[in-house]
């Protein structure tokens, strides 16, 4: 039985890599070079590290929720982006249940680096599975 305070099993991205960003840029026809050209981020003070697209970061949170309650469980996902995720970062998608109403759970969700910083934070509403 899901209860307030339950931790959602974490989902880990051990190392954010450049190749998925470049594939995402191609999928989206995204011309912003900070996602695929290291030279562009040298001039921005990021030492040539590429910037992970916001939707990929949200994807890590979605993966955590789907791993927990199944592939069609997400009812609402609200996220804010206080910081960037860069290639080479390790991030863990984490969450905790803050409310349970009938067959749905309200959750705080976030991405967390090993130093405890949270570049993405948000709230999710999740349909609880019956099993």
């Amino acid at each position: 039985m899901t209860a307030v305070g339950d931790e959602i099993p974490a989902w880990r991205m051990a190392e954010v890599r450049a190749e998925p960003m470049q594939t995402m840029a191609a999928l989206l026809r995204d011309p912003n070079p900070v996602h695929w050209d290291r030279a562009s981020t040298h001039s921005r003070g990021l030492e040539g590290r590429l910037v992970n697209q916001g939707p990929i970061n949200v994807g890590y949170l979605a993966n955590m929720l789907m791993q927990w309650q199944g592939p069609t469980c997400i009812r609402r996902l609200k996220v804010q982006f206080p910081d960037r995720v860069l290639d080479g970062d390790e991030v863990n998608a984490r969450g905790v249940v803050t409310g349970v109403d009938s067959d749905t759970a309200l959750c705080e969700v976030w991405l967390e680096r090993p130093d405890g910083s949270r570049p993405v934070v948000g709230q999710a509403t999740v349909q609880l599975s019956r099993s």
Binding site: L28, R29, M66, R76, L77, K78, R84
Partner: protein, 166 residues
């Protein structure tokens, strides 16, 4: 929409933490944009793009026909007949390095699926001038709904920051 003619989409990211890296747009008023409706149209999630997007997000492939939830980033924008470049023009932004992501609010009333021609309609909901000690920006909110044969499937409400010169 044919995937041969996908519009340009810019996947915005959080603002640079270092203020010296911020770049700014002209300080124009955008109040006239509130209520602006997008052209609207249809967009289908194809299997190949679902496969690749799921890989990009680092997770396992989903059950047959279920589309990854992150399609709510670009499918509504594509389907509403928009390019990000056009949104930038509307907002009188002057390039992706002068715009930041503030938040997404994505609601799913039914799971997204491959091979469904979703109807996409939306509008600009609000534009509010904000400011801090360091900078000014316009908080631009737009919403797009996806429907299938009249059933509401999903709704996105996205908030961007357009950084303005003082």
């Amino acid at each position: 929409m044919s995937t041969d003619s996908l519009p340009v989409v810019v996947a915005l990211s959080a603002p640079f933490a270092d203020p010296s890296q911020w770049r700014y747009c002209r300080p124009v008023s955008l109040e006239h944009l509130v209520g602006h409706r997008f052209a609207g149209g249809e967009r289908t999630i194809e299997h190949w793009e679902n496969f690749l997007l799921t890989e990009v997000c680092g997770g396992p492939q989903l059950e047959e026909g279920i589309a990854h939830p992150v399609h709510l980033f670009h499918i509504p924008i594509d389907g509403a007949g928009l390019t990000i470049a056009e949104l930038f023009d509307l907002a009188e932004a002057e390039g992706p390095d002068r715009v930041g992501l503030e938040s997404y609010d994505w609601e799913y009333f039914e799971p997204l699926r491959e091979d469904v021609a979703y109807r996409c309609d939306g509008q600009i909901q609000s534009v509010i001038r904000r400011g801090s000690d360091e900078k000014d920006w316009d908080e631009l909110v737009f919403a797009i709904e996806l429907s299938d044969e009249g059933r509401l499937i999903a709704r996105v409400t996205n908030t961007w920051q357009i950084w303005r010169a003082r």
